[in-house]
Structures are given as structure tokens and as C-alpha cells.
Symmetry: C2
Amino acid sequence: MTGNEALGTMLAKLQRLGPLDDADKATLASLTFHIRKLEPGAHYSEDGETIDSCCMLIGGYACRSKLSRGGGRQIVAFNVPGDFLDLQHLLLPRADHNIEALTEATLACVSASRLTRVIERSPAIARLLWQDTLIEGSMFREWVLNVGRRDARSRIAHLLCEFVARRKAAGAAAVDALIPITQEQLADATGLTTVHVNRMLQRLREEGAITFRNSPLRVIDYDRLKNIAEFSPRYMHQAA
Amino acid sequence: MTGNEALGTMLAKLQRLGPLDDADKATLASLTFHIRKLEPGAHYSEDGETIDSCCMLIGGYACRSKLSRGGGRQIVAFNVPGDFLDLQHLLLPRADHNIEALTEATLACVSASRLTRVIERSPAIARLLWQDTLIEGSMFREWVLNVGRRDARSRIAHLLCEFVARRKAAGAAAVDALIPITQEQLADATGLTTVHVNRMLQRLREEGAITFRNSPLRVIDYDRLKNIAEFSPRYMHQAA
DNA sequence: CGAGCAGTTGATATCGTTCAACTGGTGTGG
DNA sequence: CCACACCAGTTGAACGATATCAACTGCTCG
């Protein structure tokens, strides 16, 4: 994976959000990317750290998580290729959560100060990045609803729907591709226990929505899953 | 409440986030505010609506909520004076949640197109608004953790701590001022039932952290409440 | 071959829900 | 000034969803 491919991924992402003119593209092209690989489970950043670069996930999958005092982990977002992982460190140097690779992951990192210069020169780019932040915010609100109000079965279903929809929108994989999330991670993302997640997944399998026995999770009936989940992608603002 | 007072509130809010020079302030002052009053329970915006203005809450309290298909309501944020209610409609015209007054509320509204012109002229203002969006995002992440991982008692305590801390930071009221949130709203915000919220509040009262019998809620021992809540305000990035 | 880890199962415990009745303010119309 | 309605809050009893604990399976990898 080279800097050029990273630039391509970033351009594609931004242009999914809105138009850029040639000057904007040239400005972007002036960035130098530092390519970084992460093993599964490795952390890119940790809660409390000071960070002065911004990364985009250009390959593999990641998640954002926070710990409660008791040691419980809550995953608050999943990330797919094309996602900015920490645009926030442009304006808020101190990390407020952990960012962790789910699979082998490839990151394209830019120094925060250089990116700052880019957005000063290109209001259009600044606007799209801000828009991305806003869409992320909307997804967090949906997560609060998901964890707060849905029962275990539809909560899990909703999570899977979102993951699959975002990955598809990013062009990273088909709806029925393998889902690289363990049951433990699913539990941490839904606020349930692994035991209960396992039982609910079995139910979703019986209902014909997914498969997974001794092999990674895979969605086989997306429509059914969406129904169970009350999933409507509007909150993603068609962009993720 | 006049447009001038609205401008003052907005300036104060922005300068809590970062510095502005005189040109920025002049640019802001060119905005015309439309002052709007909301009765308790009245909606400013509803999920799905198209909105072409941006409002700041300059008096009273509000909340953001979403509905699940089953009709369950999830409150995903509380708002205190000085909060931008819908900066997002600058870039995402379609609302993805409801915004509702908790008390009598006063809003200062600006047309989205005018505000767009302001941020085009002043990168510093754009930067602070984006920063505000990022901080809001961090608070949503904390809410996911709160609803997903904490038990009922500390979940409620955490909510109260956040409300009180933000209100204090905004200079709107002291820590021990009345909290204008009903037990039903507390239930909707925590993903619990009113019955259980009532029982947990009684426990927090027995523990000496709050009072409320036949009168509005009030925090009387903030430190104790913070302890129960595992509350650490870092996720608000000192700004709210 | 053994260790380790994700996943699976069953039995039991618990937290929070549900349902239904009741209290006590507050506001309104007669 | 009373009667009534209404609404937030309160209480108790029974129920149910999810957690907890502990044992076991079956990969995968060294």
C-alpha cells in the first residue's frame, strides 16, 4: 500500500460526501502519508494520550472503545476502510477513547499541522471533514438509542446491519461477506455478555438471517435482519 | 431577550472554545438573530424534517431524542444555555432526531445560508464550530458507555453529574440549583423505566447525594454523586 | 501433542420491568 | 372556596430478560 493509494482512498471518501474541484484535489495531493500497519488487537491510540496526527483507515477494520472504572469495555463504534479515525485530534489533541484494530489494518497518517494547513487553504475540504464529523455524531446518537432501547436480539441485529451497510457503502465488501467481529466484541458493543450474544446469534441463525457455526459470521438475509433490527439507514446520511 | 444578548451568549460560548480576533467578532456581529420562544415540551425540530436554520439555546433547557419503532423514546443529549442545537443543519439539512424544550426555552436562530457566509469569511469561527461538533461527539460516546455498561444507579448519577457540570461551565446555574428534568425524562435518557428511576433516586437520596421529595431534583453532594457515577469530566474537553 | 482461545451449553441468580393501585400537588371551572 | 381532573411521583408484587458461574467443545497454532 503506497501513499498514492492512500490518497485515492481519501479522495473517494471525500467525494462520496460532496464535490471537490481540481484545486482542492491538488491541495490534498500535497499531503504526505505515513503508512502504518496494525496487527489485530493492536491499539492506534489510547484514552488520555496526546496525538498530533490524523489517520484514515485504508484497509481492514477497527473499533473505538472506552473503559468503565470497573474494567468493563464498551465499544462505541466500528470503522471500515475509508473512515477517518481521528479527525478530532486536529482540534482536540487529547484522545477520549481507544482506537483498536479488529483485523490486520492499514492506516494512512498525516501530521495534524499539515492537515491544518490544507483545510486553511481549502474551505471545501474543511467543510467535508466537518460534515464527516457530523455524520459520525448522528451514528453515535443511533448507538445510544440502540443500546438504550432495543432488546438484545434487535440490538445485535442493528449492529450487524450498520456494519454491513457501511462497509458496502465504502465499497469494501459485499453485504454477505464475512464479518470480522468476535462474539466478545459484539458483546462489548451492545452492552451484553458473550453468553447472551451467543444465544441471540443462534436465534438469528434459526430465523435464517445469518450463519456462523464454527466459521465467521455472515449475513445471509439482509432484509430479514433489517426488519428484526428496525434498521433504517437514514441516520447515516447516505454517506458512510 | 434581544438580538444583542443573543450575540453576547454566542460570543461567550465561542470564546470558551478558543480565541477570536476583532475581525471575527465583527463578522459574527453581522448576523441577524431571530429570537424564538418554546413552551416546555414544544419541539424545535423533528426527525426527518428539512431545516435551513441554525439555533443556539440562549435560555432554558432542551434535549435531543429519538424514537424506536415500538414507540420507545430515547433521549440522547441534554442541552444547556449556550449550546448550539443544530449546527448540523448547516451541512446536513435533514434532521435525524427531535429537539425539544424541557423548560420554557429561548432560541436565537440564524439562517443557514448566512451562517455559511460567516464561516466562509472566518476560518477561526468555522474551526470553533467544528470543535464544538467534535466535543458533542465525545459526549455521545460517553453516553453509549453510560447506557451500555453502567448499572442503573451510577447511570442516573452520571447523567446528573454531566448536566450539572455543563450547566455550571456555561455559567447558567450553580451545581446545587434545581434540575428541571422529570423522572420520566430521566428514564428516557437512561433506558430505564420511571419506576426503577424512582427507586434509584430514592437510593441516591438515602445516600445523601440528592434531594427531591415533592420538589424538583437538586444535587446536594456533588462529590459523592461523582463517585457513584465514576464521573470524570475529561470527555467534555473542558469546554462544555 | 498440548495450550489457548472463541464459542457453546445448562443451571441458577439478579436487576430491572410490568402492572396496577395509590398519593399529593396544582390548576381549572362551577 | 370547593370539586374535580390531571399529572408526576410512589409503592408492592410478580414476572422476565439478561447476567453469572462453571463446565465443556473444537479450532488453530506452536
